[in-house]
């Protein structure tokens, strides 16, 4: 089969030949034409088949003519210039960057466009005298780069990026370098004539450089230490803050009273390394959002209709919809509110809500719930509830979603620092008391030296570097975690709860199987020709399934809504559809065989019942193997919103012990997780649709699985690419090993602390000893954790390929 020159997909619906190239659809061909006519062919030279098939956009962006909506989307709006930023999930390669930055060749009124690849955004400025926002968006969509515009965008408070960590790190690094350079002479040359003369200016300069480090760079540690003392919980920042304070005060006193050089070098180095650890851990997947709720799924505006004259359309914001409004939903649009169907029939895909990509048929006056995606000709809906009161959005009123209820996770570092801080204070006090009797002049010296040398720099670096590194390795293997802490939480999991539809089964693959008398090739040809005329989604799926390429003329074609289609080819009548529909005029009575849990399409050819096609979601490859692996060390539960139709199948396939819980609505799922947690279980929930959102938020770790990570998934702690599903066991194993590494690193750093304490309690801590010991311990910890986490991380890659 040939592949499309533009998008690289196989041309399963026939090849379109154009300019010696093959295309899979007219959309791809059009994009090629646009680019080719504007001399932008370089797009195809940069990467092989870089394109994205554009989607239909009829009327979809009409709301961009509404001035108030435009205003809320724009970054800048002055005179004739408007600047707007869009999130474009389709951005994926260098060709995308190139073509998006050459938009001005396609529309001369666009002055500049700049892509931010990691964030998948493009910032476009254009001249409003000649063009407008809508035409810019339509141009992008035509090229396949449809911007993602949602309710969340309209409420963005500010675009301010938090760069404070970069500044703090810069300040600390700057001071650290300069202080090292100034303190170096005094390390070795003792009592040298010129040094004795100039050392005061060196010392005062060092003091000057250390001020911004203590008062600016280190300020987060003081704040966090204060908070943790206030909540009577000693986290790792408490000994760090004590260390920094003691370092600074003692150095200040030494310099002021001409007692010594002080420890400015160690102070700046300590803060610099700590911030470096923080910086390293701060890997974020900018283009992914882990905080999405229903707002991100819903469009900004819908087409509202005048109740008296339904041909009168105008655009309105989704939030402004009230009861009894009439709205128009076009093909592929999401239904944002609960309502009643006022058109004859509609096909709604509730995969956003249930995770199951199955089209549900609705007829006139049927109730329609928010969250469904309509496919087919435009439909009219009468609103019964506003957005906030809709069935789907009600879930978000649950307290799990209020941020106050975030369960606080105690990290390994925090647990250890509890004991560490207490032990440290005890050692400092004992040695102070000891020296009080031995040599009272040295008491303060020893007391402060203990606090300085025991400052848990290496301890504080162990977790950030191990977890930060694993976070990156997981990212390479397509598990995108919200923050590094999640790895520690993963290591503690003892129960895994799976959603069924969309998680254990695939969304993409429909298995279509035929049951009944086998069809001859001729019969298949006839079937395909009848199906060709129908736009029913099941017909389209079946049409693509049946392999045949003969064209016949159909006579007497008719389609009965909600029933099926019929047609005649070569005087042979064919009927395709519901069982009752196709068997209606048969002489013999046949009993339906199919079970109620499947979607089926029945067929009669020449007044003879032939059998039916069954549509089924397929279980992911290797899911039973994965469950068997997991069942050895975890409790497993399958939680599903479906009826129990497949219990038998699952029980048969799974050789391991798995609890099956069916008929769960979104709220039941949340309560189920809660009840397990009350039994002290640590739960990993793996789900996909919005129906799992509550359970994902409630569980200790919520992973959302996604066929395409650019498609939006509900709020969660991590997003797993569906292709990596079978590696869940490996990810969990690596997380556990990561925590082991941190524990080893703790022992390692304690060992350094004991050496340092040896110097400190005996009263021999020279600035040069501190200046060597502290970086040495930090660097060796960084080295150890980075290398070992890299080694354990490699295993996932090895096993998956």
């Amino acid at each position: 089969m040939e592949n499309c020159f533009h998008c690289g997909d196989t041309c399963s619906n026939g090849v379109i030949r154009h300019s010696d190239k093959s295309f899979c659809c007219n959309g791809c061909k059009t994009v090629f034409d646009i680019l080719h006519d504007n001399n932008l062919d370089y797009y195809y030279e940069l990467e092989q088949t870089p394109g994205i098939t554009p989607k239909a956009i009829n009327g979809k962006f009409d709301y961009l003519e509404n001035e108030t909506i435009i205003k809320e989307l724009l970054d800048f709006n002055e005179a004739n210039t408007q600047i707007v930023s869009f999130l474009i999930p389709a951005i994926h390669c260098s060709s995308c960057i190139w073509v998006l930055e050459n938009l001005n060749k396609l529309n001369s009124n666009i002055s500049t466009s700049q892509v931010n690849f990691p964030k998948k955004t493009v910032r476009i400025s254009y001249n409003t005298a000649q063009t407008n926002l809508k035409s810019v968006v339509i141009l992008l969509s035509k090229l396949g780069y449809e911007p993602y515009i949602s309710l969340n965008d309209i409420k963005k408070d500010s675009n301010a990026k938090d760069r404070s960590l970069t500044y703090k790190l810069g300040v600390a690094g700057f001071a650290f370098g300069n202080i090292m350079f100034l303190s170096f002479p005094e390390y070795f040359e003792v009592n040298e004539f010129w040094l004795e003369k100039f050392k005061y200016i060196f010392r005062w300069l060092m003091l000057f450089f250390s001020l911004p480090v203590v008062f600016y760079s280190a300020q987060d540690y003081f704040v966090s230490a204060y908070k943790s003392v206030k909540s009577k919980f000693l986290n790792i920042d408490v000994p760090i803050a004590i260390g920094i304070t003691v370092l600074f005060v003692r150095s200040l006193v030494e310099v002021a009273l001409d007692l010594g050089t002080g420890f400015f070098d160690s102070l700046a180095g300590l803060v610099f390394f700590l911030l470096l650890g923080k910086f390293f851990q701060q890997k974020t997947y900018n283009y992914l959002s882990f905080e999405r709720d229903y707002k991100s799924y819903f469009p900004i505006a819908v087409t509202k209709l005048d109740p008296d004259n339904l041909t009168n359309e105008f655009q309105t914001k989704v939030y402004d919809l009230v009861q009894d409004d009439f709205i128009l939903i076009r093909n592929e649009e999401l239904i944002p509110v609960d309502g009643i169907l006022k058109s004859n029939n509609a096909f709604i895909d509730y995969s956003f809500v249930t995770g199951e990509a199955k089209l549900v048929e609705k007829t006139l006056e049927d109730k329609i719930f928010a969250g469904g995606k309509h496919s087919g000709t435009p439909i009219i809906i009468k609103v019964t509830k506003s957005v906030k009161q809709s069935y789907l959005t009600q879930l978000w009123n649950n307290e799990v979603f209020s941020s106050a209820n975030q369960n606080i996770f105690q990290t390994l570092t925090d647990k250890i620092s509890q004991r560490f801080t207490k032990t440290l204070l005890v050692i400092a006090l004992i040695s102070a008391v000891f020296w009080l009797f031995l040599d009272s002049a040295k008491v303060l010296n020893v007391f402060t030296a203990v606090l300085i040398v025991a400052c848990p720099c290496a301890l504080a670096l162990a977790a950030p570097f191990t977890l930060g590194n694993l976070l990156r390795i997981f990212g390479v293997n397509k598990l995108y975690l919200k923050k590094a802490e999640v790895i520690e939480q993963l290591a503690e999991i003892d129960t895994i709860v799976f959603d069924k539809t969309g998680t254990l089964t695939t969304n993409a693959l429909h298995t279509i199987s035929f049951k009944g008398d086998s069809l001859s090739e001729e019969e298949n040809n006839q079937l395909k020709n009848v199906l060709r005329a129908s736009n029913h989604p099941l017909s389209r799926a079946l049409f693509n399934h049946i392999k045949s390429n003969k064209n016949y003329n159909i006579t007497n074609y008719s389609e009965e809504v909600g029933q099926g289609i019929s047609g005649t080819i070569h005087n042979i009548p064919l009927k395709i559809g519901r069982f009752d529909f196709v068997t209606l005029d048969l002489d013999t009575v046949i009993k339906a065989e199919s079970s109620a849990f499947q979607t089926t399409v029945h067929i009669t050819i020449g007044n003879k019942y032939k059998g039916y096609y069954a549509f089924k979601n397929e279980y992911r490859n290797g899911f039973d193997h994965l469950l068997n692996q997991l069942s050895k060390s975890y409790n497993l539960v399958i939680l599903s919103g479906d009826n129990s139709g497949e219990t038998d199948y699952l029980a048969k396939t799974l050789s391991s012990k798995v609890d099956l819980v069916f008929n769960q609505n979104p709220n039941d799922k949340l309560e189920f997780i809660k009840s397990l947690q009350q039994k002290n279980k640590k739960i990993l929930m793996i789900g996909d649709g919005l129906n799992d959102a509550g359970a994902l938020a409630q569980s200790n770790v919520g992973l959302s699985i996604s066929e395409n990570i650019n498609v939006f998934s509900p709020a969660c702690d991590g997003i797993l690419d569906a292709s990596m599903f079978i590696n869940i066991f490996n990810f969990l194993k690596v997380s556990k090993k990561g925590v082991q590494i941190i524990k080893y690193a703790f022992f390692f750093s304690l060992f350094y602390n004991i050496i340092g304490l040896g110097f400190a309690v005996t009263g021999h801590l020279k600035p040069v000893v501190a200046a060597i010991l502290m970086p040495l311990s930090s660097i060796s910890i960084v080295f150890f954790t980075t290398i070992s986490s890299y080694l354990i991380g490699r295993k996932i890659i090895k096993k998956s390929f």
Partner: protein
């Protein structure tokens, strides 16, 4: 040896100059996206290419548009 005061002053000034440059670069957003510029740099040659090509291709293009009409 009093020259050391001057040397110190210069060294601190140079350091401060680099520090200011760093602050400026962060502020102007140079660290917000550290990937795209590395790709964009490679296009610099290619951005000119369509313009030069245009002149050569124009006759072809006219023929093509005629065909369409």
């Amino acid at each position: 040896m009093t020259i050391i005061y001057l040397l110190l002053a210069i060294s601190v000034l140079v350091a401060l100059a680099f520090f200011a440059a760093f602050i400026f670069s962060v502020k102007s957003g140079q660290y917000d996206d550290v990937y795209t510029p590395s790709v964009r740099m490679l296009f610099d040659d290619e951005l000119v290419k369509p313009a030069t090509k245009k002149n050569k291709i124009t006759p072809n293009k006219i023929v093509k548009t005629n065909k369409h009409n």
